[in-house]
Symmetry: C2
Subunit: 214 residues, 2 copies
Amino acid sequence: MVSVAAVPGDAAGELLAPIDFYFDFSSPYGYLASELIDAVGARHGRRVVWHAVLLGAAFRATGGQPPSQQPIKGDYFRTDFQRSARYHDIPLRMPAGFPVSSLHATRSFAWLGQQDEALARRFAHAVFRAYFTAERPIDQLDTVLDIARSLGIDRAALAEALTTQSLKDATRLANDRALARGVFGSPFFIVDGESFWGVDRLPQLERWLSEGGF
Amino acid sequence: MVSVAAVPGDAAGELLAPIDFYFDFSSPYGYLASELIDAVGARHGRRVVWHAVLLGAAFRATGGQPPSQQPIKGDYFRTDFQRSARYHDIPLRMPAGFPVSSLHATRSFAWLGQQDEALARRFAHAVFRAYFTAERPIDQLDTVLDIARSLGIDRAALAEALTTQSLKDATRLANDRALARGVFGSPFFIVDGESFWGVDRLPQLERWLSEGGF
């Protein structure tokens, strides 16, 4: 499970493995992490590799379910989503339709990532913010295509790609790989073979990066 | 749900509601919180009221199960227990027998609390440390009685009390009250009507106490 591949490219992260950042577009804690993780990587000279995952498969494998859907816990989590956002000073307006399918957004992210990782990340930010600050229905294909277009992405080309079996297969493969690495929630971070689950584990992740483990 | 009762007794906490701290003796995160929460209370002039609960009932109500028992998640949690302990600089040696029933310890805590809250708290610390640093089988009646005796508690009187229906009823009532307040995990904190679940929510709890909410 230890990822020791050197990061090609810019000098800063040359010899350090990246932080793998896994998220589901329908996850509020994943959204919060998406607004925080790049600064964590920058503080510690680590590249961050973003991975969109579909947690439905993980929930089936672990017997779990989204926290907000569970009896009693649901009310707590709805409070905690908002409080955690205020704690981190990140805007959050929980969508009335929650959770929703993140399938189109995840496949779109995978397609963009095959071409331009930085663009895929800008798209991910845009999807998260559209859903969690403006209540846009990111489960709808048109919403996803419109968000892409707003970033200068060819709307028709993306729409075409989303119909292909190869993109469906690539997305499923990426998801299977995440599950095989033990990813079962969002956000989930893996660095130097160490796993961290939850935006509330960022302090431990940061200490880990500072001290090379603890 | 808002608890606005003034704290009787010492001047420091006169006008501030206490922090209600709920824990299960079989919970590693509850143990970590038990080593941290009194300092949190002291820093903010709040009394901390300790409540031992039996989470089995809560897990039945929420459809949940102990995190370490869940597929895939179990391995993660075993790592996270130890790492969280190191993060907080608290000794932890996960018992081979885990989790175990905390019934005897919880009833004993309730009985002691009826007489001497400070003594009950010392007992709680002793039980947690016996289980999570010395692997003593706290599900066994003899272990619980021995721990009590080591604190100067009358072993025979406690053994006698543990056979009474009134103590069983009192423990069940306390547990039902906790469930009615929405307690579904360990540790769980409620202060000024606001709920916080998990040792990883102590930073939010502290900010809440510092700023009177946020």
